[in-house]
Subunit: 327 residues, 2 copies
């Protein structure tokens, strides 16, 4: 079967999303949508959907509407999350609630969510509508549940690792998993294959998020794309912090809690001190082991998918690239 | 065919909505949804859907999920609109963004919108899924467009009657019309019938909204359920105000604009003075004529629906009751 490279798929879906006709009235409703979708990003979810479809079928362009749907849904969540988190910037540009106003962010977000359903239905073959919409609806709801847990964790200091993993599974992983499963369903995959690709996506999403948590502390600023220590400064309940609070001895734990409670400090000192605690407790290694575990589980799940190994390589290469791993 | 009274349908769908299992985790996400749906209301949209279905089929309970979907969608719009309008109360109870917080209103509203799609898909016969979802999606998007126009009109004084009618068509009418059309489709109605019921719903919705605008000025407070003159005090661009600005002579128009611009006044004096202007220009009669026009158009459209007249009486009685008209 003729497969397309992830770069080529990315370019195509990017062009497709750019071509969507958002210049309609009322402008106050559709301009923010066009703005958000024009900010780019890696188009990770649609590419995963196309890669999963491409395991079974060649004519990827047939599911561009569904790929655009998952990207529109993802960008809707960013739009509303940025408002709820009172963020300032997204992808180097002002967020909608600053560039326009909070009401524009609410209402244009609502319209984006509706549009994502429109795209998901568009030209969806009749025999797959029910199962595609079931995966999409369930996933969309779970992402909201993940965001709710994330917000609730902000005011708690007793979040367990287990709770954290469940939160990132809902907030991040299920949408990657759902994108893969929908691509598989539309490609005519068996139920088993579709579920294996879903489970593969969950593990991969968990590995990505832990990698992100790790890189906030130990990343190379030139490569990571964000400032190092951002999570430390805002006391974000990451895998690093939660694990440190769980594993540290009493004195080190007290030290860490003092830094969390501190209100007057030099930012670089806090980053340095908390990193030193992580080093002492060995959080970096614990996190890397957990990433490896999810990565291995993901690989094992993909191996079980009943298509030729050669066909899976494309998807695996894409994931490896995202994980910045060398083979 | 065995038809059910609108009162009986209302009780059934009310009980069905009450029975929906919202007590799931995270509570912070689902409690506000349960709260909003428990505040009651007339369940107008689901009853219309069931009445339309009941023109063709008896087993109304088969479409309770779709009826619950339209009510969930409607309540989602109230939840987000109340936040955008910074309202305090809804149906005599504090709104979600006051009882909880603005973020709860945003995220629980998002989840409600997703749930409304879930209900709309639930047990929807395969042959109708595409057309039902098409009507629902289009309607949902148009309601957002209506809300956007409504917000934009707040800061304008040059809104035309035509623009106003289009705004209320989108914000209010299409959801009533969509409820009827979905009920008809699920009942197995012809495309012509489904469209006639949609158009009937649009006219009916316009008549309802103008009636609401009229009653704010000339209603009996004991019957209307809201304080008289509320729209006048907040300079709401109603059919009454827009028509008065259009029809009044230069001096009266200036008087009216002065009241709109006034910042220091006794509320009852403003209501009295603006009502006197409406009396002088004859806005009450103009509005009543327009209501009659839409009502007659609605009746004529319903007459064309190809079921026995006796079957349509149930739907017409329900509409008449809502219009508070004597036969």
């Amino acid at each position: 079967m003729n497969q397309q490279s992830s770069e080529h798929l990315m370019k195509q879906i990017h062009a497709y999303i750019e071509s969507l006709p958002y210049s309609r009235n009322p402008k106050g409703l559709y301009d923010p949508i066009e703005y958000v979708l024009s900010l780019g990003g890696k188009r990770l979810r649609p590419v995963l959907m196309l890669l999963a479809y491409n395991l079974y079928k060649e004519d990827v362009e047939r599911i561009f509407p569904q790929a655009a749907a998952i990207e529109t849904y993802h960008n809707f969540t960013l739009l509303h999350d940025d408002l709820m988190d009172n963020a300032e910037m997204r992808r180097g540009k002002p967020v909608v609630h600053k560039k326009w106003n909070p009401n524009a962010a609410i209402l244009s977000g609502d319209a984006m969510l509706i549009l994502s359903y429109q795209f998901m239905m568009q030209d969806c073959p009749a025999q797959y509508v029910k199962s595609v919409m079931e995966v999409f609806g369930q996933t969309a709801l779970e992402v909201c549940e993940g965001q709710q847990w994330d917000m609730e964790f902000e005011t708690r200091t007793d979040v367990t690792v287990e709770e954290y993993i469940e939160m990132i599974r809902l907030k991040t992983s299920v949408l990657l998993a759902g994108a893969l499963k929908i691509g598989a369903i539309l490609g005519g995959a068996s139920e088993d294959d579709a579920q294996l690709l879903y489970d593969f996506g969950v593990r991969m999403g968990l590995a990505f998020q832990l990698q992100d948590d790790y890189l906030d502390v130990y990343g190379d600023p030139a490569v990571f794309g964000k400032k190092i220590g951002g999570d430390i400064l805002c006391n974000k309940k990451t895998y690093m912090l939660i694990t440190a609070l769980e594993k540290a001895d009493a004195q080190t734990r007290r030290e860490l809690l003092d830094w969390i409670a501190a209100s007057n400090y030099v930012p670089s000192s806090k980053i340095e001190a908390v990193t030193a605690i992580y080093n002492k407790v060995g959080i970096g290694e614990i996190c890397q082991q957990k990433i490896d575990q999810y990565y291995e589980e993901a690989k094992a799940l993909l191996e079980k998918v009943s298509v030729e190994d050669a066909l899976k390589q494309n998807l695996m290469d894409f994931v490896l690239k995202l994980m910045n791993r060398k083979l």
